[in-house]
Amino acid sequence: MDRPIRVLVAKPGLDGHDRGAKVIARALRDAGMEVIYTGLRQTPEQIVNAAIQEDVDVVAMSILSGAHNTLLPKVVELLKAENVDDVLVIGGGVIPDDDIPFLKEKGIAEIFTPGTPTSVTIDFIRANVKRK
């Protein structure tokens, strides 16, 4: 691929902690990706609208509030409703291991929990973007 991968980094829901999102944004930037950073407290609708307008390859969401089982699948649903089927959706944050199978079943491709080296996320994105 001789174009940069475009990634929307978003913080869905109400927690105000974006250190992790910013670390990831920075790491993806240093991996040569174009990162569209949307800031805090985004609704799933806002995230999906931004993803469409920005024509991103990846939606990466960071969430620490505990509302992941509601908000992350909602983003996948809304993307589907808009017939967007070529965007990779991933999540990260304090998400219990027990919740991960449910989230994957709902269409979130991977969940990265605290302590994951940024290189793992980068490699995953490179290997799994849907558009060439």
Binding site: P4, R29, G32, E34, I36, T38, Q42, A50, I52, D55
Partner: protein, 308 residues
């Protein structure tokens, strides 16, 4: 359905995809713009420039909201720098425009400069055309945070808004050549800060020597409090009206089209020179010779030109 038709029917995903294609030098994007070029030229294109942190994004957000209150539609192209080392970028202008992302009358697109100097990206002009065909009434182009000489925006917009803030230097800064010369309208943002009045006065004094019959207005604003924004929008509209009534809009567009044609020719020529791998090899070989002082860079450049 074809992308061009979807664009004409106002499909947002078609707009988004076409801008990506233009950014990635997809020849199909050029084909579509070639066909639909006669549908451009309707939107009022406003460039917003100024130093990093001056409040360009916040002001764009407020201006867009003021326009939406009048029932008109807005496209926003927000440019942020691309890393010259990794090619990556953080495009963070949307952070200040969060409420707008739910408004169906607003389309926001972030772009990295991707190696282009001058405050914009190479595909910005294409993105403006795409949004114009899509049919928005206003297009804002927000440049990267600029220094003193990034004046490309003036070649791409009908109206250039120069946003500055108090405390960036003395009055010598205002009479320097470059960025201070391209403003059609000036905004002194963060006008509640010390020295705002003085900054505005210094700009006014500089403008007193202005040689055109359009005397750029200087508007004090506090973008976060939405103060001075309606007045600022009036100035922007007045400038467009002035351009139309004096025939200067056409003049300006001829000038800008000329620059665009020359840019495209240059781009094609560079492509011809560097695209073919053996020439790239040649550049590499010559570069090594120049670095070793075996030949000089002037002769090296002529050697490459002789090849085409």
């Amino acid at each position: 359905m074809k992308l061009a038709e979807r664009l004409l029917q106002g499909d947002k995903r078609a707009v988004a995809r076409l801008i990506s294609m233009a950014e990635n030098h997809d020849p199909e994007a050029v084909e579509i713009l070639r066909k639909l070029y006669n549908k451009t030229g309707n939107a009022h294109v406003i460039g917003i420039t100024g130093p990093p942190g001056a409040g360009k994004s916040t002001l764009t957000d407020k201006l867009a909201k003021a326009i939406r209150r009048e029932g008109k539609t807005v496209g926003i192209i927000a440019v942020d720098p691309t890393s010259p080392f990794t090619g990556g970028s953080i495009l963070g202008d949307r952070v200040r425009m969060n409420d707008l992302s739910m408004d169906p009358g607003v389309f926001i697109r972030s772009m990295g400069t991707r190696g282009h100097l001058g405050g914009l990206s190479k595909a910005t002009q294409a993105a403006v055309k795409i949004l114009d065909i899509y049919g928005v009434d206003y297009i804002f182009i927000e440049t990267v945070g600029v220094g003193q000489s990034e004046v490309d925006i003036a070649k791409n917009a009908d109206t250039t808004l120069m946003v500055t803030v108090p405390g960036l230097g003395d009055d010598i800064q205002t009479i320097k050549a470059g960025i201070m010369e391209i403003g059609d309208v000036f905004a002194v943002n963060k006008a509640d800060r010390d020295g705002a009045k003085r900054t505005a006065t210094e700009i006014e004094m500089m403008l007193d020597f202005h040689h055109s019959d359009w005397r750029p207005p200087v508007q004090m604003v506090i973008a976060v409090e939405n103060k001075g924004v309606d007045e600022l929008l009036d100035h922007l509209k007045n400038h467009r009206k002035y351009l139309e009534e004096t025939g200067k809009l056409q003049e300006k567009r001829i000038q800008n089209s000329k620059l665009e044609i020359i840019d495209l020719v240059q781009e094609k020529l560079m492509g011809m020179i560097l695209d073919k791998s053996h020439k790239e090899e040649m550049v590499h070989r010559l570069a090594a010779d120049v670095a070793a002082r075996k030949i000089d860079p002037y002769s090296a450049s002529e050697a490459i030109l002789k090849e085409i």
